[in-house]
């Protein structure tokens, strides 16, 4: 007990943000994808409110095309930590005729998530949605505030954002609006991995090198799965790979890797000459892909 607390500036900033959310909003929710960023968020939220429980539920927008390993991991984590989990399915939005399934070579359910998310926000009257987006991921994301206001339609008005001064976070909104909150805005991919290593956090197995059936397209490694469209000519082979980011199977490419421990993963990220989003097929669609999706209410 004689110790002096050594601070990690990024961790302390995130904890501060979590506490602001709990204090300023009536119905916050933590958007949980089962990926490394949302796992980090859960850890930070635990620290922010310890010894009390995390005072809001988690919500997963399930595209139905997730890696099974991620879903397994999600359920285990929620169980172990005694958290409340809400799941809403893109399949339901499709069945209700609200969105149309894409078809063809680059079809993905990634964009469809937005409708399901916005509906869920309305259903539960969530006023703050906490997400694990980071500014270093993508250049439209680099423009995000920590508290980012969305209108009734979930839209991001990127040219007219609220000034955000010092660490004063203004969470005042009108009925129907909601705020997207990004506690790890200022973390880099390496910061997240280092944190996972230091905190000894469990993560889904697909982040580590494993043998997988894959095929090559546009220089990227695609998972061979029933959820991913594949041409006849595209040949499937087995390869040692891992994933750097865990999105929908149809939009997340793998990378060649032999890193089977967290130390090896951290070392690999440190030396990598490709960015995390370099393996996101959804961003390759166009230079403004992310900005467009965000305007429509995507994370």
């Amino acid at each position: 007990m004689t110790e002096k607390l050594l601070i990690n500036a990024l961790e302390n900033e995130a904890i501060y943000i979590f506490r602001e959310v709990a204090a300023q909003f009536e119905k916050p929710v933590l958007l949980f994808s089962g990926g490394k960023d949302s796992i980090t968020l859960v850890r930070l939220a635990q620290k922010a409110f310890y010894p009390a429980k995390i005072p809001f539920p988690l919500m997963h927008i399930d595209t139905g095309h997730n890696f099974p390993e991620t879903i397994e991991f999600r359920d285990k984590l929620v169980n172990e930590l005694g958290l409340e989990l809400i799941v809403r399915n893109v399949q339901d939005s499709i069945d209700q005729g609200k969105v149309k399934e894409e078809s063809g070579r680059y079809s993905s359910r990634n964009v469809l998530q937005t409708t399901t998310l916005l509906d869920a926000i309305e259903e539960f009257k969530f006023d703050a949605c906490i997400g694990g987006a980071r500014r270093d991921e993508e250049k439209a994301r680099a423009k995000e505030r920590i508290f980012s206001v969305r209108d009734d339609f979930g839209q991001w008005d990127e040219k007219n954002q609220r000034p955000e001064l010092f660490d004063m976070l203004n969470g005042q909104i009108e009925l129907g609006q909601n705020v997207r909150v990004f506690p790890i805005s200022n973390w880099t991919e390496l910061d997240v991995w280092t944190y996972i290593e230091n905190e000894d956090l469990e993560i889904p197995s697909i982040y580590f090198a494993h043998k997988r059936d894959i095929f090559m397209r546009d220089g990227l490694i695609w998972s061979a799965s029933e959820h991913v469209y594949k041409d006849e000519e595209e040949e499937v082979e087995e390869r040692m790979v891992r994933f750097r980011t865990v999105g929908d199977m149809s939009c997340t490419a793998a990378v060649d890797s032999y890193a089977t421990t967290i130390q090896e993963v951290v070392a690999e990220i440190r030396d990598s000459s490709i960015s995390e989003r370099g393996a996101r097929i959804d961003d390759k669609r166009s230079e403004a892909a992310m900005e467009k999706r965000k305007q429509q209410g995507y994370f």
Binding site: Q46, A142, I274
Partner: protein
């Protein structure tokens, strides 16, 4: 690892975004895919050089117009430390976004186009950086390649800027001048092979050697209570932790403290972080604490050391930087957010508008327009617990929220 936050400043097209792109490129922080994207876009635009501003101008409108509209936060690290750079817009219209970027930074890089020298936006941004008490300012005289890398031109601009510095009343400030070419890379990361007349450090060298301990404006310990943690579980039945971030100084178990506004005296009993107890916590740590006596404490209250009381008042005067197209008027009411504490505020008087050219001229005005800076006095419905901004960078600042739109309409620095 240590994190240093830097904000750029300067007029439109002075090369802020380009400079940041160059820093990333020369420190090998741009990954292959990002570099490829820049090469592709530069080619598409018909440039015979790499347009590094494409690395940071993340919005479609920005790339179309070739200007920065909103702040982008860019990250890179060296063996020494991690850097966060706020790429801010130079356009007057977006001054609020420039202030946003600068408010969380400890260092400012003010760019000047060597062809144009010190212009209105230069002193406006220098003024705002001073208002924000940014301690370390780097004046980067950019586009030296367009003035034949002329030492004479550089000295001329430096002398002009020094005249501004003389008029500033910020004494602890440290100013460094560097002639650079963001486009060609001279004196950014690599020493210029052309400007051999310059003996100073490169921009990155300067940043790497900055003493990050003394760059922070320290002050007295302030602990604004953010949230009360009450688990109400069997194990922690009577636990009551006051969660918050420590500002200004250190907090220790046993410290004699006063809770504001009740002015109750007590002592710090325990300091927790993630369930572990600590003897002391440094500034900027997000902790929770318990107190010796059973005192009633809620969000917005402040815990301070017994012999270091802040001012506790319902009226004060502040310099206000207005950020909203709806003008600030005498008599109008706002929600004033001071740290995590919110009160209602009425504008009592606009004393005068402050010119940002260091001329010292004060103009009488009846209202404040967007991007105006003025001395304004307020009347609050409840007292707040504050320090002058000069003495405390966090406890002396507040924002004004328009109760009709909920927008953050202005920022104030208490005198």
């Amino acid at each position: 690892m240590e994190v240093l936050k830097i904000a750029t400043a300067g007029s439109v097209d002075d090369g802020k975004s380009t400079l940041i792109g160059r820093l990333l490129y020369d420190t090998k922080s741009l990954t292959d895919d990002k570099l490829e994207a820049i090469e592709k876009s530069s080619k598409k635009k018909g440039y015979d050089y790499l347009d590094f501003s494409l690395a940071t101008d993340g919005l479609v409108a920005e790339r179309e117009q070739g200007i920065t509209i909103d702040v982008a936060h860019i990250y890179f690290s060296t063996a020494t430390r991690s850097y966060i750079i706020a790429d801010t817009p130079g356009h007057v219209e977006y001054t609020r976004n420039m202030v946003t970027g600068a408010s969380t930074s400890q260092v400012a890089i003010i760019l000047i186009d060597a062809r144009h020298g010190v212009i209105e936006q230069t002193y406006r941004h220098f003024f705002i950086n001073n208002l924000l008490r940014i301690k370390d300012v780097i004046v980067a005289v950019n586009k030296m390649d367009l003035v034949n890398f002329s030492e004479e031109r550089y000295n001329e601009i430096k002398a002009d800027f020094e005249k501004l510095v003389e008029k500033s009343d910020y004494e602890d400030q440290h100013i460094t001048y560097i002639p650079v070419s963001a486009l060609k890379g001279d004196n950014v990361v690599e020493k210029s092979t052309v400007m051999t007349w310059f003996n100073g450090e490169t921009l990155l060298d300067h940043l790497e050697k900055l003493d990050t301990v003394n760059i922070y404006n320290r002050g007295k310990m302030r602990f604004p209570v953010q949230y009360v943690i009450r688990p109400k579980t069997e194990e922690f039945h009577d636990f009551r932790g006051y969660a918050g971030k420590v500002y200004g100084g250190e907090i220790n178990v046993g410290d004699e403290v006063v809770v504001l506004p009740s002015e109750t005296k007590t002592r710090i009993k325990e300091i927790f972080f993630n369930g572990k107890k600590y003897q002391s916590a440094a500034r900027r740590s997000s902790i929770s604490i318990s107190l010796e006596n059973n005192v009633n404490v809620s969000r917005g209250d402040m815990i301070v050391k017994a012999n270091e009381l802040p001012r506790m008042e319902k009226t004060f005067t502040a310099k206000v930087c207005w950020m909203c197209s709806k003008p600030l008027l005498v008599g109008s009411k706002y929600v004033l957010q001071h740290g995590v504490n919110k009160v209602l505020a009425k504008v009592n008087e606009i004393h005068h508008k402050i010119e940002t050219d260091f001329s010292g001229v004060d103009t009488q005005v009846s209202n404040l327009q967007i991007n105006d800076i003025a001395s304004v006095s307020f009347q609050l419905n409840k007292p707040i617990f504050f320090d002058a901004f000069k003495e405390h960078r966090t406890n002396g600042a507040f924002i004004l929220i328009d109760p009709q739109t909920n927008n953050t309409s202005g920022v104030g620095f208490i005198e």
